[in-house]
Symmetry: D2
Subunit: 119 residues, 4 copies
């Protein structure tokens, strides 16, 4: 069984949701980038006092809360991409190709340095 | 033509990317939530001094940079969800159902108040 | 009347607060940087759907909430600086001197471009 | 020797800095809250792949970079507080009094739970 996200279908539902509430006036890319950051930080909050090890074995309750925040981030990301007409597949593929160039595995093996830190 | 994200396929590529670089040691959910926030803020940075109106009509160059940041956020979101075994479709559908309940259109029409602000 | 922050005194109170609760175990710089970001985003949340104009004329209630978030950010910033032994005066003065160099007023007058965008 | 921040003096210098560059037009509280979040995330970035232990023993170079980001957060915090006429001493004292109430030491000793999680 495969996990597929139908971005067009979700975008259409988000568009209808905003239309029905007259919320398009609030959904400038500027504002949506703020809302996305707020949700990303609510995700961060769940992990702030956990050790890395603890973050790998969340309780069922905690995981459910984390899932909700992940959904919120994704919802604003899809909404923003719809308004800016960003093709998410193209964007992800381009970025992954760039990352493969910036981080050649023989050079960065086992290291977390930023690519600007390699000479 | 429809925009579909094959989450399993992207997850598999991200897993291979991390494996080849011995980066799994860095990819705890805690760390990934931090990386996701860093990318979300790089997205925010593009909009910080723009008016809302300007954020709606980005130059081609600026839009290309914004797309890269959107891709980065999405990549970390998919990677985190893979590690936590979050079903993104389920998460999005549940959250959208919850939002419909929290924000009935007749009550919130044209208003951006948080649902906790409605009595 | 002058506004003075006695950083040493506040740091000492924050240290006592953590000691009394056995919270030093949680206050690694990594974790404190996360907590600071969470608070910074709670500040952001108050402004996300406001126009810039509206953000300049907050209601008394809203302003009180914003003040609380500003305090939270400052508290974590002072706590983090105490642990890392950062001299905040020195840090601010050095950064302001650097900013004066990076952004000469005749070059950036009326423009919000990042210094990397000036040739 | 005591560490004192003269907020009025720093505010005045930041005001002059913005005036000389005609930057007041960009410094709405909304935009400043965004800039503050961007800087807070640049601080976060330094810690994202470090263990908590590593974050406690930064190299001299890394610490210098972290100091710069701390300064950036503080600068935007002071600038925002100046524009909103927030008294930082009052704000910090009020919040610390509230925290003492929300987190009684006998109840939260050694625990990092959020106050809403205590019944």
């Amino acid at each position: 069984m495969s996990q597929i996200l139908d971005i067009d279908e979700i975008s259409a539902r988000l568009r209808a949701f905003a239309d029905e509430r007259d919320w398009n006036q609030f959904h400038s890319p500027k504002n949506l980038s703020m809302a996305l950051n707020v949700e990303a930080s609510e995700l961060l909050e769940h992990f702030q006092w956990l050790t890395e090890q603890q973050s790998l074995s969340l309780t069922k309750d905690k995981l459910a809360q984390v899932e909700t925040e992940i959904a919120d981030v994704l919802i604003y990301l899809i909404r923003l991409s719809d308004i800016l007409k960003v093709d998410l597949n193209l964007a992800v593929n381009s970025k992954m190709a760039l990352n493969a160039q910036k981080y050649p595995s023989d050079k960065v093996y086992g290291s977390s340095k930023k690519y600007t830190e390699y000479e």
